[in-house]
């Protein structure tokens, strides 16, 4: 019997590409974030609101990730910002190789902010570095306040939590206080925003944070 010691990271190939993306974005002083959530919690709506608030102040580009269709890219395109759609054809997460290919389509060198909207999924995308500056996890009030405890890796790896659809709080059995308690138990350093993409509540605060990051 022969034994060979390997000790190599399984995702090393992804990580090499992600680091290359990170260096390129840094060289162009672009602030980037990877937007993550379960399907239907409002990622694309938040991106639309964010663009509406910021597009006259700063140059934004978007990479959209979906299992099928370019519907999200069509929505973003209507707002007049550069957008590239990644269709994973069944893949449950974006990886750095897909983002590298999409980057060439958004003329990234002229951007100041890059938003990468991941495939709707609170599990699989958590472990894949895309070369972003930070991960932003979005949780809507319709999903329930126990989600941080059920999907800890996602909340642990993110630096920002957005609690979305707060306009629906009177109609759903969900406590924002509990979401915060549960999320902070997983990740005490989370920066938390409460938003509604319907009423626009909280969007200014979120956008101020983005501007502050981009200007650092």
């Amino acid at each position: 019997m022969t034994l060979i010691t390997v000790e190599r990271k399984v995702l090393e190939k992804n990580d090499v590409i992600a680091n290359d993306i990170r260096l390129k974005l840094k060289a162009h002083k672009i602030f980037s974030f990877n937007l993550l959530s379960s399907p239907g919690s409002g990622k694309t709506s938040l991106v639309e609101r964010t663009i509406a608030h910021l597009k006259d102040k700063i140059r934004i580009g978007v990479i959209e990730g979906d299992v099928q269709t370019d519907l999200d890219a069509q929505r973003i395109d209507l707002l007049g910002v550069p957008v590239a759609q990644i269709v994973t054809n069944g893949g449950c997460h974006l990886d750095a190789g897909l983002v590298r290919d999409a980057l060439s389509k958004v003329d990234y060198a002229n951007l100041e902010i890059l938003i990468i909207e991941n495939v709707g999924n609170l599990v699989c995308p958590a472990g894949f570095d895309l070369g972003e500056d930070t991960k932003v996890v979005l949780l809507s009030t319709t999903e329930g306040d126990d989600k941080p405890l059920k999907y800890p890796a996602m909340f642990r790896n993110a630096s920002v939590l957005i609690i979305n659809k707060i306009d629906l709080l009177p109609y759903v059995n969900c406590s924002v206080k509990k979401i915060k308690e549960n999320a902070l138990a997983i990740n005490p350093d989370l920066k938390i925003f409460e938003t509604s993409c319907t009423s626009d509540a909280g969007i200014s605060g979120w956008c101020d944070w983005i501007l502050a990051q981009a200007n650092q």
């Binding site: 060979i4 390997v6 190599r8 990271k9 399984v10 995702l11 090393e12 449950c92 472990g127 642990r156």
Partner: protein
């Protein structure tokens, strides 16, 4: 189902350590999986077996070493295993902790059967 991507990467890394002729001798590939990696062992094993099916490597097994979450407390210095996913010190309750283990996702070892010897078969 990110386990399929992970299984592909495991095989791709392992294949850098043997030639095509040596594939039949691969007995096992050992991987370390931290509890924080969200990897479902049964799914990973299923994907691994599906990928090597009908190949020269089809007899190879994947051996998974599960790595628990271990936290080091910056307040009291305790290092303990954390059963759940709460990132607080189990001794003093402080949230000033660092994750010592649980993030692993590595190919650690490859085991081979010995080469067949040229022994003569007795009649």
């Amino acid at each position: 189902m990110h386990e399929l991507s992970i299984a592909q990467e495991i095989i791709s890394i392992a294949e850098q350590y043997f030639s095509s002729d040596e594939k039949e001798r691969v007995k096992s590939i050992k991987v370390k999986i931290g509890k924080l990696q969200n990897v479902l062992p049964d799914s990973l094993e299923f994907c691994f077996n599906a990928l090597i099916q009908n190949s020269k490597m089809e007899k190879a097994k994947m051996v998974i070493e599960h790595i628990p979450i271990k936290l080091e407390c910056k307040s009291c210095g305790d290092v303990s295993e954390q059963e759940g996913f709460l990132f607080v010190c189990i001794k003093c309750g402080s949230s000033k902790i660092t994750v010592v283990s649980g993030n692993e996702l590595t190919v650690s070892e490859i085991e081979f059967e010995d080469s067949p010897t040229n022994q003569e078969v007795l009649p």
